[in-house]
């Protein structure tokens, strides 16, 4: 009986890596936005920029996900 362990292994690794990375990015974005409201001046701008970079990365991941569904 043949079980594709390497495929299972890569599903495990890829899922773990991407989930953790995405959730971390999004958390940083959300935290950055909430920081923007409390901080002032330069640090507020930096926090907001960082947040938007994080959200853009997440949006890119979602777009990639949709393309995976469509091109299957």
């Amino acid at each position: 009986m043949h079980i594709d362990w390497s495929a299972l292994g890569s599903v495990f690794g890829v899922s773990l890596g991407i989930s953790v990375a995405l959730v971390a990015l999004f958390t940083l974005g959300v935290a950055g936005l909430s920081k923007k409201e409390t901080a002032q001046g330069g640090s507020a701008v930096a926090a907001a920029t960082g947040a938007y970079v994080c959200f853009a990365a997440c949006a890119a991941a979602v777009a990639y996900g949709i393309s995976l569904i469509i091109t299957k």
């Binding site: 299972l8 890569s10 999004f26 996900g65 469509i70 299957k72």
Partner: protein, 413 residues
């Protein structure tokens, strides 16, 4: 339209009914966490999921046929066999819906197909190694993979957000959660609506209405997409409640981590070619997110009942499928008998469900008191291990009466 006999017509209608049950059975996968954390209003959530399911159904036809290809020997498969398989799958979906347990619709369908094929052509026609490699192993792997991913993601998320104001961040997590839930809905439409398309196409081929190796006709794609979207819109509120509330208590941050991990696992697994069941992945990720928060609880009693349902899915659907196939073997009146039995038992299950209505109004209430069937399932499962204490109320000596108190919480350190 192609030449369609009465039998073929019955098979097609039954397949669409299965598609419909598939829709309302699996709404929970996409929307349970979204509804329980309040990211979307229940009605809005199911409407969004239904729309995306419909869109998903039209995106491609590649997945159609995968359900039957390889698992059973397609040559010589008769419409009656497909009919019997669908009867097994529908009844199992309805029973698990009645007791509010999420279980894989694909497993139910495969179980029905396996059972009907064995009854029709003997055990030789079922490829056992495919069964283990494509059904059993993924069922074990999915919740582990998704659960671990969600747990690590939740842990990290809480660590990173640190002392951030929860009120300010709540909105952000809700938006993220809605995006992940949308992805799961879309993926569900492309996968599960196409399974029905595959089944109907298989039946049309088996009945000689269309040539072998045909693509699904347009009306098949259309009706399958509409059936699954309708089912999704109706909303399997009982299962949504179990998944969103019964397993653990989710905060927006956890709901986001759970749904994102589930979406990732589902897409990654189907992309890499080791398909994992949506239901199993989402259940696993919800539990993982529950464990990931400090002081989070997972209700292992609910999880255990769910696991028992998963183990039973394939054999139970197979048994019903085999019985149905045996009865259809008696000819036209046998097939009619099975059809009447399906309608009657579906109606009985629906009537039973009206005794304790679960809908969009009370979907977020705490878990219902266990019904007769739930207690029966709880009685055959081992009592949950560990100290059963509840931080808010007095300590209940639950291990002494595990079946009386199946919703007891097990606090996880």
């Amino acid at each position: 339209m192609e030449h369609i006999t009465l039998l073929l017509g019955i098979v097609i209608v039954t397949a669409l009914v299965f598609d419909f049950t598939n829709g309302f059975h699996d709404t929970a996968n996409a929307m349970a966490t979204t509804i329980s954390t309040g990211a979307l209003k229940p009605k809005v959530a199911v409407a969004m999921s239904a729309a995306l399911n419909l869109v998903g159904a039209f995106l491609s036809v590649e997945v159609a046929n995968t359900i039957s290809k390889g698992l059973v020997d397609e040559t010589g498969i008769r419409p009656e066999v497909i009919f019997a398989a669908l009867v097994g799958a529908i009844l199992w979906n309805l029973v698990t819906w009645l007791v509010g347990l999420p279980s894989s619709s694909s497993h139910a369908l495969m179980g029905g197909l396996v059972g009907a094929t064995i009854a029709s052509a003997g055990t030789g026609a079922v490829h056992g190694d495919v069964l283990v490699g494509k059904v059993l192993l993924p069922a074990v792997a999915a919740p582990v993979v998704a659960g671990l991913a969600a747990m690590v993601a939740t842990r990290l998320s809480y660590k990173l957000s640190g002392g951030a104001d929860t009120k300010a961040t709540k909105k952000g997590y809700r938006a993220g959660q809605i995006a992940s839930a949308g992805l799961v809905s879309l993926a569900h439409g492309t996968n599960d609506a196409q399974k029905t398309m595959g089944i109907i196409t298989l039946a049309l081929v088996a009945g000689g209405a269309i040539a072998p190796d045909s693509n699904p006709p347009v009306w098949v794609i259309l009706s399958a997409g509409v059936a699954i979207a309708l089912g999704t819109f109706l909303g399997g509120w009982r299962i949504i409640r179990t998944m969103g509330r019964g397993l653990t208590d989710l905060q927006p941050q956890q709901g986001f981590a759970a749904q994102t991990s589930a979406a990732t696992v589902i897409l990654a697994s189907s992309h890499i070619g080791f398909s994992l069941s949506t239901t199993h992945s989402v259940s696993g990720s919800v539990m993982g997110a529950g464990l990931g928060r400090k002081g989070g609880v997972v209700r292992w009693s609910t999880a255990t009942r769910m696991a028992v349902a998963w183990v039973l899915t394939l054999p139970a659907a197979a048994l019903v499928g085999a019985l149905a196939e045996w009865v259809t073997g008696f000819g036209t009146w046998g097939t009619a008998l099975v059809a009447v039995f399906l309608v009657a038992s579906s109606f009985a299950i629906w009537r039973r469900s009206r005794h304790e209505v679960v809908d969009h109004n009370n979907v977020n209430d705490t878990e219902e008191p266990p019904g007769v069937v739930t207690q029966a399932i709880a009685a055959v499962t081992p009592p949950p291990a560990g100290t059963l204490t509840d931080g808010l109320t007095a300590t209940i000596p639950a291990p002494a009466e595990p079946t009386v108190n199946p919703s007891a919480q097990s606090r996880v350190a």
